[in-house]
Amino acid sequence: MEQRPFSDISYEQFLNEEKLMGSRCKACNALFVPPRPICIHCYSSDMEWVELKGEGKLGAFTCISVGPPFMIAEGFNRKNPYCSGVVDLEEGARVDARIEGVDTLKPETIQVGMPLKVKYLHRDEEGIPKTYLAFEPK
């Protein structure tokens, strides 16, 4: 049984291990991704870890031309926008993620509802491994 605390830190550690994990309330079965330590429906703290399949549909997206410094450092700019989106997971929860493998200079070609699968973007940030959740077209 997975014993890690139901926290953002654990969620990020799992991403480093290429696992998309959430918490499920054992009392009322509600699913939370990222995990929550307390069920917001029944207030139970009796949670268990659940691994998500990493498949879903694009719920909403944007192609960003003016990004924050850490995205500019990755090489994104007005001529090379990146896509961020909200993904509706097959299991019913929803996550924020980078969207890869789409033409960000032709955003009209990107469709809400398009099927996606998970991808993990590994980065080294001053010696610390860091993983960003991403999805790409199936």
Binding site: I64, D96, R98, V112
Partner: protein, 421 residues
């Protein structure tokens, strides 16, 4: 079902002021707040002795980040001669001063204070655009910021969800931009006091002066569809869908209702107050509305006993064009999914049945984030008292106006209803 709320005693608004909004190299937060404070004092018809003010609540989101100075409550209280009386800073991202207003109302309603100064300030223009984007993104939900969402990005994503669900498109958002820009030239405090047609002419003149080919656009929508004139920031949000970077300040004085007539024969009364909290994109039931706005609206309507039909005009938090579209539906002015049709029909124009953002909105008036909430109420004050000049809402018996303020990605939303009796 929300509890029906009421104030312990009535609260009235007897004076209001705001600085001009804009990007000011030669003015700082203190200069701007002094400007707002002086106008507020002058606006009190029968005069007010500032020594009678009991306490101050000041909204400021992040001068900490923007100009590396924190702790603005006592700084501003000292500026206007109030120290050693209490000064408290409120923070709710872009809704910071709507929270200051609420705290001021509660302090008087509780009976603890009789006269309270509420205000807001923000000084953003000394940073680069990228730095401001980073500073504002501190108020997103962390999961959003981590995957690169900026504020224009969050609202861009909401726009794609809205378009997909209701069959609207960018051209519908352009109606909002064109409307706000037609109100702004009538507001002497606005940062961008020009219409889109004015902007088109200015661009043509500039090209002519430089000896470059003169650009031609068939109409405003053709201009807004031209990526050279209106480049994408976070698709589908383009430059003219986004509010600017601004400096500015605003303030108001609140008193116990029973004393209001000592200061003016024409006070306004606080009849509806609502505030809600949101959860971030990943935890929303639906990406085409803000749960926190709907909660705040329900609370304010419940307290006032009014319905959306009773609101005669409203300021709403149009940090982005799509935001205005969503708010006018969440506040009940139009049904969900029908706002874009109403806007296309001109319903929200100054001369329409439900004028929205007569000030020019955040888009044109400017959005010094901590000052915005009270600047919206300043517009309601100006309109209800019939002092809005050329942008006066042309309705007989103007009595009820409202303001909606939003912070973060819908994390803090407020709705405030004022009445002239």
């Amino acid at each position: 079902m929300q509890k029906k709320r009421k104030l312990g005693r009535g609260v009235a608004l007897v004076g209001a002021g705001m600085s001009k909004f804009g990007m000011f190299r030669d003015k700082d937060s203190k200069d701007l707040f002094a400007e707002a404070f002086k106008e507020m004092l002058d606006s009190v018809d029968k005069g007010l002795d500032p020594r009678d003010i009991d306490a101050m609540y000041l909204g400021n989101f992040s001068n900490d980040f923007f100009i590396h100075q924190s702790h603005w409550g006592p700084l501003m209280s000292d500026l206007v001669g109030m120290a050693p009386k209490p000064a408290t800073r409120t923070e709710g991202a872009c809704a910071s001063s709507a929270l200051a207003f609420r705290e001021g109302v509660f302090a008087i309603a509780s009976g603890f204070y009789d006269m309270v100064l509420v205000g807001g300030v923000e000084e953003m223009s000394k940073r680069t655009t990228e730095e401001v984007a980073e500073g504002l993104a501190l108020a997103t939900v962390p999961y959003e910021g981590r995957v690169g969402f900026t504020f224009p990005g969050v609202f861009g994503a909401l726009a794609t969800a809205y378009f997909s669900k209701y069959g609207a498109g960018r051209e519908h958002l352009m109606n909002i931009t064109i409307k706000s820009h037609s109100n702004a030239p009538l507001n002497p405090k606005a940062q961008f006091p020009f219409s889109i047609a004015d902007m088109m002419k200015a661009k043509q003149k500039r090209a002519e002066k430089k000896g470059q080919p003169i650009p031609e656009w068939e109409d405003e929508k053709a201009f807004l569809s031209d990526p050279r004139a209106n480049p994408p920031v976070a698709w589908p949000m383009h430059l003219y869908d986004c509010c600017p970077i601004s400096d500015g300040a605003s303030c108001m004085v609140l008193v116990a209702e029973e004393t209001a007539k000592q200061f003016t024969d024409d006070p306004l009364y606080v009849i509806g107050l609502g505030q809600g909290s949101g959860r971030g994109l990943h935890a929303c039931d639906d990406l085409t509305y803000f749960e926190a706005t709907r909660y705040a609206a329900q609370e304010a309507y419940g307290m006032s006993g009014l319905t959306p039909k009773d609101i005669q005009f409203s300021e709403v938090h149009d940090c982005f064009s799509i935001a205005e579209m969503i708010h006018i539906e969440d506040l009940g002015f139009f049904k969900a999914g029908e706002g874009f049709k109403a806007v296309a029909d001109g319903a929200t124009r100054l001369d329409g049945p439900m004028p929205v953002n007569t000030s020019g909105g955040l888009k044109c008036k400017g959005h010094p984030v901590g000052a915005t909430g009270i600047s919206q109420l300043y517009e309601v004050w100006t309109q209800l008292r019939g002092k809005a000049g050329e942008r006066q809402v042309p309705k007989k018996d103007l009595r009820i106006g409202a303001a909606h303020n939003l912070g973060g990605t819908g994390g803090t939303c407020t709705f405030t209803i004022l009445e002239r009796r």
